[in-house]
């Protein structure tokens, strides 16, 4: 009831001497973002540590190239995940979708039809699975956590059925030659990450689609009452995540020259971790792709440091956990002046 109690609310919402507003990702002008700067700082420190421990090999061309090639697939998956999380959703099924697409594109039947069909197959499978997620969530009103948990289980199950749990080696030489090769001296996988990232950045920050994604994640009801078709848009966002998984499958298959139902294990956790480290809020409405990319690179550098120094994966996992917490606490520190 709007009584004087309501009138009283200016008490709480009177203009604060507010901290400068968070520069919009789409500000179109270069602005120093403290959070991104601190993330970048973490990355630089980690690189310095790597260099200090192995001065000869860490920053060598071959190690940098192999680090980036390893980062490429998970980077592409994280781009899709960033869209989903900015729209206030979550996708637990990305790893399974990568597995399914990698298996489907490498069956004998698909391989016989050549490289282009293989690529199209991976893209279609990823997009299709993502849209199934999206339709269930947007139109079936299934909670994202549950809908994608179901896809997490069933997509990998389907991949196991399709492949009989066997590793399907790629014998299409044109595929291997192209995707394992270089363009202008840079591996194709790294080009793919760069292109996906660039397209993702433009779509998120420079198109109406991206603006709607931020709006839906920030306040879905407000978006709906502004005439935005929230359901259709939500479905498409999950479709994008699936499409990114299809692209990642192409990359994983190229790197390992095989398709397997065990591909993409724990990608969902790595991708969510990278997105969160990158400063995207799990509650939606805020986030940057640049942050996500730095998040991915931080993990890659850590992995490289550990493998180069022959450390066990158990230590590596502990370090990952610590990094997630430290990075997130650092960001809370820099945003504490904002009252939420």
């Amino acid at each position: 009831m709007s009584d004087v109690g309501e009138k009283a609310s200016p008490a709480e919402e009177t203009e604060r001497e507010a901290a400068p507003a968070q520069p919009m990702a789409a500000s179109g002008r270069f602005r120093v973002d403290i959070r991104l700067a601190s993330l970048l700082g973490v990355l630089v420190v980690l690189c310095a540590v790597g260099y200090f421990l192995k001065p000869d090999s860490f920053l060598s061309e071959s190690n940098v190239s192999s680090m980036l090639r390893l980062a490429a697939a998970i980077g592409v998956v994280s781009v899709g995940m960033t869209f989903v999380i900015i729209a206030a959703g979550i996708d637990l099924s990305v790893g399974s979708m990568v597995a399914l697409a990698s298996v489907w594109m490498t069956t004998y039947a698909t391989q016989e039809m050549g490289m282009f069909v293989m690529v199209l197959c991976a893209l279609a499978v990823g997009l299709g699975a993502g849209l199934v997620n999206g339709v269930l969530i947007a139109y079936g009103r299934v909670v994202p956590f549950i809908a994608t948990l179901a896809m997490y289980a069933s997509a990998r199950g389907l991949a196991e059925r399709l492949s009989n749990r066997e590793t399907q080696t790629v014998s299409v030489t044109s595929y291997n030659e192209f995707f394992r090769g270089d363009i202008l001296g840079i591996p194709v996988l790294i080009w793919m990450l760069a292109v996906v990232f660039a397209i993702g950045w433009v779509v998120l920050n420079r198109t109406t689609f991206g603006r709607r994604t931020f709006a839906i994640g920030g306040n879905a009801e407000a978006a709906r009452l502004a005439g935005i078709n929230v359901k259709l848009h939500t479905a498409l966002v999950y479709g994008i995540a699936g499409l990114c998984c299809g692209i990642a499958a192409i990359m994983v298959v190229a790197r390992t020259t095989s398709g397997s139902s065990t591909n993409g294990m724990f990608y969902e956790l790595d991708a969510i971790a990278a997105v969160v480290i990158g400063g995207t809020l799990l509650s939606g409405g805020r986030g940057t792709l640049i942050g996500t990319l730095i998040g991915v690179l931080i993990f890659t550098v850590v992995n490289s440091i550990f493998t180069q120094n022959n450390l066990q994966t158990d230590v590596q996992n502990i370090a990952k956990g610590v990094i997630i917490i430290v990075a997130v606490l650092l960001q809370y520190g820099t945003t504490r002046n904002r009252k939420t």
């Binding site: 008490a11 507010a18 198109t207 407000a222």
Partner: protein, 510 residues
């Protein structure tokens, strides 16, 4: 059975000269109230008269700036809700504060569960809950039942049982019948009668005069945060009560406005037979270009629901909405927006704004395609147009990059209006546009609404504040219980006449 130990007729509570100010608003400006044991004391007043603030002072949620509270003839301080409860004042808020997933017993004892060494004594809790429900005349409600499964009336009883579990000697009931059906109301009144027979005092707030006559003993009337009538008998004539409540001093002067005299009957909105089961039925009205039509009525009369249905945010069960000669698709916001309709919804923060995002993002939210070429955003134009709009609406500072969260309520409302101005809508639906807006910003919003109408926009305005509806509108629709009661030019209506129609149980004077 434990009996509260109030002597019948004993003066329990005296408040005198209570003042409470918030920035920009003097919510309470000298309230006097006296409550005796065993009476039902009714509080009457329009929206904004200070009832809610008074309840919050009584329940310990707000501290008064001035004035004296005496409890059993000794000075008392209700320093927190907990302190008020310990003294013996319990409040049943209009929006029930129950945890739906917990059981009846758990809700009744929430926060003060009987325990031994930290272990909840569930058996004792249930037994005491059962006894309380029996005392309230509803032994059939089992203490183990989940509260979310109970009817509105059942939940009300649980809320009341909670008050009794604290051995409350004074229970404040804020519009307890708003969500109840007729037979449930009868039961509530029986319970209230039993309570008062035991010596418990009840402060009862309702807009339904009929109820006040049925169970009230004395009436206190508030206006502009002041007590204008106290210790009135419950059978005081309606006209006298309405006279006391009306004639509010509105701090804002409504800008002078030339009555809309266009002969052209370019009807922008035509609503016919609009119905939503349980909310409103058979609502028909039209709005012409440049006209401001106000809808007066109490909260729950169906005003906001009508607006949201016109806008397509709710699906109509029957009836049609025609905008600029074209019938709108039922239940489609997208269609309404495409047809040139805009809505500034009641809950600004949860329904309209992207609080964490820049003003510009909020302003262009409904016009994204117009600010893009081939799907790509034209950011430069976005900022330019947003800045122009902010300057036109006098939003300070006119920085389109600033987060909406950092602006005051009035400025946030301007952002919402700006969104529809940028969209160049021909019909603007405003739901409680001045809620949570301070006096200065109110005047600016009023001016803005007039300016819009002058430029040919058709405006539908919903407000709980009768003077606001009368002061702003050309034509006024009065709604009560989901029905359109009257339609009349604003200058033919008086505040008292509208109030009288709006409140149930009073005779219609028109």
């Amino acid at each position: 059975m434990k009996e509260p130990v109030n002597e019948p007729g004993e003066v329990l509570l005296t408040m005198s000269g209570i003042v409470k100010t918030f920035p920009g608003v003097r919510a309470l400006d000298g309230v006097d109230l006296e409550v005796r044991a065993g009476e039902v004391h009714c509080l009457l007043g329009q929206n904004g008269a200070g009832k809610s603030t008074l309840i919050k002072v009584l329940s310990g949620a707000h501290q008064p700036d001035e004035g004296e509270i005496r409890w059993l003839d000794r000075p008392a301080r209700f320093s927190s809700p907990d302190a008020a409860l310990r003294i013996g004042v319990a409040t049943m808020y209009q929006e029930l504060d129950l945890v739906e997933g917990l059981s009846v017993a758990e809700n009744i004892f929430l926060g003060h569960e009987p325990h031994t060494l930290g272990f909840a004594r569930r058996g004792l809790m249930r037994a005491r809950a059962r006894e309380l429900m029996r005392r309230l005349g509803h032994p059939e409600i089992p203490p183990g039942r989940e509260v979310g499964l109970l009817s509105a009336a059942g939940q009300q009883l649980v809320s009341m049982a909670r008050a009794l579990a604290h051995d409350a000697r004074l229970i404040i009931m804020d519009e307890p019948t708003a969500a109840l059906a007729a037979d449930e109301v009868d039961n509530l009144f029986r319970v209230v009668a039993d309570l008062t027979a035991e010596g418990v005092a009840v402060v009862y707030i309702s807009h339904r005069l009929e109820e006040i006559r049925r169970i009230g003993h004395r009436v206190t009337v508030l206006k502009d945060g002041r007590t204008v009538g106290t210790n009135l008998a419950a059978d005081t004539p309606t006209s006298e009560l309405v006279n006391l409540m009306s004639g509010r001093q509105v701090e804002t002067v409504f800008p002078h406005r030339e009555a809309n005299t266009t002969d052209v009957t370019d009807e922008v909105l035509a609503v016919e037979g609009l119905t939503r089961a349980g909310e409103f039925s058979d609502v028909s009205f039209t709005v012409r270009a440049g006209e401001i039509v106000g809808i007066a009525g109490l909260v729950g009369a169906g005003r906001s629901e009508v607006l949201e249905t016109v806008f397509g945010a709710r699906r109509a069960d029957a009836g049609t909405v025609t905008v600029n000669g074209r019938r709108l698709r039922n239940g489609s916001v997208t269609a309404a927006v495409a047809a040139g309709v805009g809505l500034a919804p009641e809950e600004r923060k949860s329904q309209a704004l992207l609080l964490d995002q820049a003003v510009a993002s909020n302003v262009i939210l409904a016009s994204l395609p117009a600010f893009s070429r081939g799907g790509f955003s034209d950011l430069a134009r976005e900022y330019r147009v947003s800045r122009e709009m902010l300057e036109r609406l006098d939003l300070r500072p006119p920085d389109p990059r600033r987060e909406v969260r950092t602006f005051s309520g009035g400025n946030q409302q301007k952002v919402v209006v700006a969104r529809w101005l940028v969209r160049e809508c021909t019909l603007l639906l405003l739901d409680e546009p001045t809620r949570g807006v301070d006096v200065g910003a109110r005047a600016e919003l009023y001016g803005l609404i007039h300016e819009l109408a002058a430029s040919g926009v058709a405006v539908v305005l919903v407000s709980s504040e009768v003077p606001e509806v009368l002061g702003l509108s050309d034509r006024v629709l009065v709604m009560r219980e989901g029905r359109l009661l009257t339609e009349a030019p604003a200058n033919e209506l008086t505040e008292a006449a509208v109030l009288d129609m709006v409140m149930e149980g009073s005779e219609v004077v028109l």
